[in-house]
């Protein structure tokens, strides 16, 4: 019984993790977007504190 429960949990675990990875894949930022993000984060705040 415990065996089947554990196997069920394992299947759920792998399924959920795979679903999360697939979801992340759809919203992955490109290198250009990452660069713009970093520069906008640095410059929006640093201008105020400069």
């Amino acid at each position: 019984m415990i065996t089947y429960v554990c196997l069920g949990i394992l299947i759920l675990f792998v399924a959920v993790k795979s679903a999360v990875y697939m979801k992340h894949r759809k919203h992955t930022p490109s290198s250009d977007e990452l660069d713009l993000k970093l520069l906008s984060l640095i410059n929006q705040k640093s201008d105020r504190h400069d």
């Binding site: 415990i2 394992l10 930022p29 490109s30 520069l39 984060l41 640093s46």
Partner: protein, 307 residues
């Protein structure tokens, strides 16, 4: 006037993306945009590029997930009531863990950028604070080593993009003798308002590396032409920029009146280039420039065989 120094710049490594220059210490998590070999906070040689750090973190997380799956699989096998059950549990666990591993491998290139984005958002205050620390280091070096300060500010300006840091670089550049073989920049240093040091710098660059004078720098000079004319060597600055603009036909076509105003002050080789350009393209619109060039040629170069 302060005497200018002859210097050699440390090569500026241009990366495709600014974040490629951001490094983090694996030990104390301090960020840096400078090139130091050791972390300025903890003194250890544990600085790594941000992507490498994030990739390691993502791989560690994925390994933990596989270990959790392995643990659940082992529990399932341990509690098997028959040998057949244990074998089937082992086979199922191996298959599921292999599937998880396969999915993780395929998703790693997508997880790393996502994680980087999260890190930038979460660590924004820290990144800004550490860049400010880099900047303080640069300013502290000013008294003893202006060249080092300029090189540090040049790196920092990849990330911090405001007029203050641009002007700091321009002021430092004005204390160096500019040469043709130097790695100079103009466009990244342009600011929104007029500055005499910047105008003088552009005038000097126009003499030694005219290929750096492009549309935005010509427009800057044009926008503040009246202010530049009030400077001691204002006409010289404007003439050298006009001479540099003759490098490309598109600039002559775009700014014929500007070039016309200073055509009398440009060196012979630049005037010759302008003259030939107009001769070879009579169909282009030159405004009053063509007439002015003809007048100057008659006055100065009528008997010159080059014309």
């Amino acid at each position: 006037m302060t005497k200018k120094r002859a210097v050699t710049f440390k090569p500026y490594i241009k990366t495709r993306y600014a974040y490629e220059k951001l490094r983090v210490c694996r030990h104390c998590q301090q960020f840096t945009v400078l090139w130091e070999a050791e972390c300025s906070q903890c003194g250890k040689s544990t600085l790594v590029p941000i992507r490498e750090r994030v990739t390691a973190k993502v791989k560690r997380t994925m390994l933990n997930e596989r270990l959790i799956a392995l643990f659940i699989g082992l529990v399932a096998i341990y509690f098997g009531q028959t040998f057949l059950q244990m074998i089937l549990s082992a086979a199922a666990a191996i298959l599921l863990i292999a599937l998880l591993w396969f999915v993780q491998r395929r998703m790693l290139p997508f997880e790393v950028p996502s994680e980087m984005e999260t890190l930038f958002e979460q660590e924004q205050p820290r990144i800004i604070e550490d860049i400010k620390r880099n900047r303080k280091l640069a300013v502290a070096a000013l008294k003893d080593d202006e060249l080092l300060t300029y090189e540090m500010l040049r790196e920092i300006s990849t990330f911090v993009q405001n007029d203050k840091i641009r002007l700091q670089q321009v002021v430092l550049l004005q204390s160096f003798v500019l040469r043709k073989d130097m790695d100079l920049r103009v466009e990244p240093l342009l600011i929104d308002s007029f500055d005499t040091d910047l105008a003088a710098y552009i005038g000097e660059v126009a003499k030694v590396q005219r290929e750096l004078i492009k549309n935005s720098s010509i427009r800057y000079i044009l926008a503040y032409e009246a202010h530049i004319l009030e400077m001691e060597n204002g006409v010289e600055i404007l003439s050298s920029v006009a001479g540099a603009a003759i490098r490309l036909k598109k600039y002559v076509e775009a700014y014929p009146e500007f070039i016309r105003r200073y055509a009398r002050n440009i060196p012979k080789d630049r005037f010759l280039r302008l003259y030939r350009m107009i001769q070879q393209h009579p169909e282009s619109y030159w405004g009053n420039l063509a007439e002015e060039v003809a007048v100057i040629r008659r006055e100065r170069y009528e008997w010159d065989s080059d014309f």
